[in-house]
């Protein structure tokens, strides 16, 4: 796990090493162990290394025997041992034990098609000197980040946007259309990012630059079509599905333990992370250390379940207790790492947790991400199911009672009368055929945050329609999929890479040089899960039914039986809880809001007042606060005072180090 960056100069000049060094300094947190820079013709590649596999000889940039192909790589190829065997059998000479070299040789043999053979999480760049071609690729689900921009003179790329901003010729400006997207569906829609003209390579895509021409194309797509290829034979009865799923999960976990350093696991107390820990304990010889975050506030705390899992699985366990004050304190650092606004504070405790992991000398953790998306765990799936059921008989007084089964942890919702429950979840006639049926309540609620935009931003985004854009990029087959699968697709295609794996995943873990690995996101598991009949994923209203069926026996019964509790963290209270926090006061002050120009000063003032008086308890108000504050922090740290030590986060101008070659 590492950070990569690079430059391809369109004018044919060799990039200066000092520029690459600057790009690297910004992302040294991703790879504090070593760094390297390589220039060849018009290309420069830079790499910051976190050593995990082949510690002595896995240095990068790495080259083939005649230096005609060079690579910088961030990530892991979990099936590298099998691929290596194949390559040796076909006569390749490999000089190291690393997965990086495997990609190089596969590229030599198969060119851009090499990515189909890889099972892993990656972003890499290959410079093919003979063909004068730069080839970039990002893993199927978007675990690892990869950004780029095109200036008059060069193509620039990096693991994080801040490495691209390290070059002064790149302008730094918020893209208000991206902000409108994020204030609707919680993410920006790739390739767009929150910064104007900074793009991301979308998950499952490759990009090539040759003779100044840039092309981006998908090499893999999420496909929920029944009976299509790649299912791994996903047909048959419930029993068979359960057996196949367990078999795949065991193997996905096994190959994710390949590492030359010790591997730990996150344990939230929920089903998915406990399954992962149980698989490690039960099916491998790896000694297991687990890590979790607990909260003072019982509304968020899951430590009793964590303890049950620890006792049951007998792991060496470490815990960090997180308070509202902690969240308020680290929030500027968190935004420095997420590089985009967020609507929830949930990434902050995970940032603190990765610090704990690092303190204990671990660089790698396995976690349960991807299970809710692929195996049907989220309440939004359940909500859509009940809404459809009520829609069939809109006058029923009984059916809306089912909504009480939803969100049992949301006290405000549970306190509602039946009449209001019915009203909140009712389906309007124009929604029944809408392709975003499952997500409309969430997105419509989130869209209300746009009323905080300044007049200027409102008028700039008035004619922009996020739904229209999303509609335009849905796969052709989408309209034929079951409604449950459509909802899964929206979660897995957009929220998973755009928030869960990035703001709540890679970015806050790599802030402390910790790499996450996700057995549920092994592409074999994903392709298999996509074709499990929806009724087995959620049986009536029993979420992740098949997972419970196949792995429930490995868990403490209380966890196997548990209703889904989504991971959440305190929000408003983290910023308004007695003592004043300087950056909150500054960045949300009417003066500052007016100067920055994104939000309406009066509206923000009223919102802040509501929080100060302790009256803001609703989801919408809390999302608005976190969204506005994180946007203001982004402006401060990336647009106004990029990288200056005077900003609120603890980060400084970056670590300098002398790079080899």
């Amino acid at each position: 796990m590492c950070g990569i960056a690079g430059i391809l100069d369109f004018t044919g000049r060799r990039p200066e090493r000092s520029l690459l060094q600057r790009m690297l300094e910004r992302i040294r947190h991703r790879g504090p162990d070593d760094c390297g820079i390589y220039t060849n013709k018009q290309v420069g590649l830079a790499h910051a290394r976190l050593s995990i596999i082949d510690l002595p000889s896995g240095r990068q940039p790495m080259h083939n025997e005649d230096n005609s192909v060079s690579i910088v790589f961030n990530g892991e190829i979990f099936n590298y041992l099998e691929l290596r065997e194949d390559l040796l059998r076909r006569g390749h000479k490999l000089l190291t034990q690393s997965d990086t070299e495997v990609i190089l040789h596969l590229y030599e043999e198969k060119g851009e098609e090499c990515v189909h053979d890889l099972n892993g999480q990656w972003s890499f760049a290959i410079w093919d000197s003979e063909n004068e071609k730069l080839f970039l690729s990002r893993d199927r689900l978007g675990v690892r980040p990869l950004f780029y921009t095109i200036t008059n003179q060069a193509f620039l790329f990096g693991s994080e946007i801040k490495s691209i901003f390290a070059l002064t010729q790149v302008s730094r400006e918020i893209d208000v259309v991206a902000l409108a997207q994020l204030f609707t569906c919680w993410v920006t829609i790739p390739p767009r990012t929150i910064f104007k003209d900074i793009l991301e390579v979308p998950p499952g895509h490759s990009l090539t630059v040759k003779q100044g021409k840039i092309s981006v194309r998908p090499y893999w797509q999420l496909d929920f079509t029944e009976g299509s290829e790649g299912a791994g034979g996903a047909n048959g009865c419930e029993e068979q599905y359960a057996e196949q799923l367990l078999e795949l999960l065991i193997d996905a976990t096994r190959i994710r333990l390949r590492s030359d350093v010790p591997v730990g696991a996150y344990l939230s107390g929920g089903l998915d992370s406990t399954v992962v820990s149980a698989l490690i304990k039960k099916f491998t010889d790896t000694p297991l250390t687990t890590f979790s975050v607990s909260f003072d506030d019982p509304q968020f705390d899951e430590s009793s379940y964590q303890q049950q899992a620890v006792r049951f699985l007998d792991t060496n366990h470490q815990d960090v207790r997180c308070t509202c004050e902690d969240i308020g304190q680290v929030f500027p650092d968190v935004i420095w790492h997420t590089e985009k606004p967020i609507l929830r504070t949930a990434p902050a405790p995970l940032y603190i947790l990765s610090g704990l992991v690092r303190e204990h000398g671990y660089k790698v953790v396995l976690t349960g991400e991807g299970s809710d998306e692929m195996l049907g765990g989220y309440d939004i799936f359940k909500e859509a199911k009940i809404r459809r059921f009520c829609m069939n008989h809109p006058e029923s007084k009984i059916r809306p009672l089912l909504f009480r089964r939803l969100y049992p942890y949301l006290q405000n919702l549970q306190g509602q009368s039946n009449a209001y429950l019915q009203a909140f979840f009712r389906v309007r006639s124009d929604e029944t055929k809408n392709e975003f049926f499952s997500h409309l309540p969430r997105w419509q609620l989130t869209s209300k945050l746009k009323s905080f935009f300044s007049d200027d931003v409102s008028s700039q985004t008035a004619s922009y329609d996020t739904y229209e854009e999303l509609r335009g990029i849905l796969p052709q087959a989408y309209s034929g999929w079951d409604g449950f699968c459509q909802a899964q697709y929206l979660e897995a295609q957009f929220l998973l890479p755009g928030y869960i794996l990035s703001s709540q995943g890679d970015r806050v873990a790599m802030a402390h040089a910790v790499e996450g690995r996700f057995p549920f996101l092994d592409y074999r598991v994903v392709e298999f899960a996509a074709r499990i009949p929806p009724t087995l994923k959620m049986k009536v209203l029993n979420e992740k039914y098949l997972l419970k069926r196949c792995a429930g026996g490995l868990l403490p019964p209380s966890i196997a039986r548990r209703f889904k509790q989504p991971y959440r963290a305190p929000e408003g209270k983290s910023f308004f809880n007695g003592a004043r926090i300087d950056y909150v006061d500054d960045l949300l002050s009417p003066d500052r809001i007016r100067k920055d120009g994104i939000f309406n000063p009066l509206a923000v003032e009223k919102l802040v007042e509501k929080f100060r008086q302790g009256r803001a308890i609703g989801t919408k108000d809390n999302m608005a606060l976190v969204g506005i504050l994180s946007t203001q922090l982004l402006l401060e740290q990336f647009v106004r005072n990029f990288g200056e030590s005077a900003t609120y986060a603890k980060h400084r101008a970056g670590n300098s180090a002398i790079c080899h070659r």
């Binding site: 405000n412 009368s417 009449a419 209001y420 909140f424 609620l445 009323s451 905080f452 923000v604 009223k606």
Partner: protein, 85 residues
């Protein structure tokens, strides 16, 4: 009642529209249809009404039928206040 109408409008504007006069709200606009009120909003509204007008809103009165627009609220409060006299 003119007064009550203004007080309610002020509360809704400050609390749910964050003072933004640009969002026009007629007395008959449904809070639900306009997306002004979410599940917490109902609780905030009820807390406000109970405190401000010294009334007790019963469970069976927690319905959009009584609470979902400025006009409905004014009517509701009229009957409530009268019945408590």
């Amino acid at each position: 009642m003119q007064n009550i109408e203004q007080e309610i409008r002020q509360f809704v504007t400050d609390n749910f529209l964050f003072g933004q006069a640009s969002i026009r709200l007629s007395n008959y606009d449904s809070f639900l249809d306009q997306g002004i009120i979410d599940s917490t909003g109902v609780l905030e509204l009820v807390a406000f009404l109970e405190e401000k007008y010294q009334i007790k809103i019963e469970d069976n009165e927690l319905t959009p039928q009584y609470l979902d627009s400025i006009h409905k609220l004014v009517k509701f409060l009229e009957t409530k206040v009268q019945s408590s006299r």
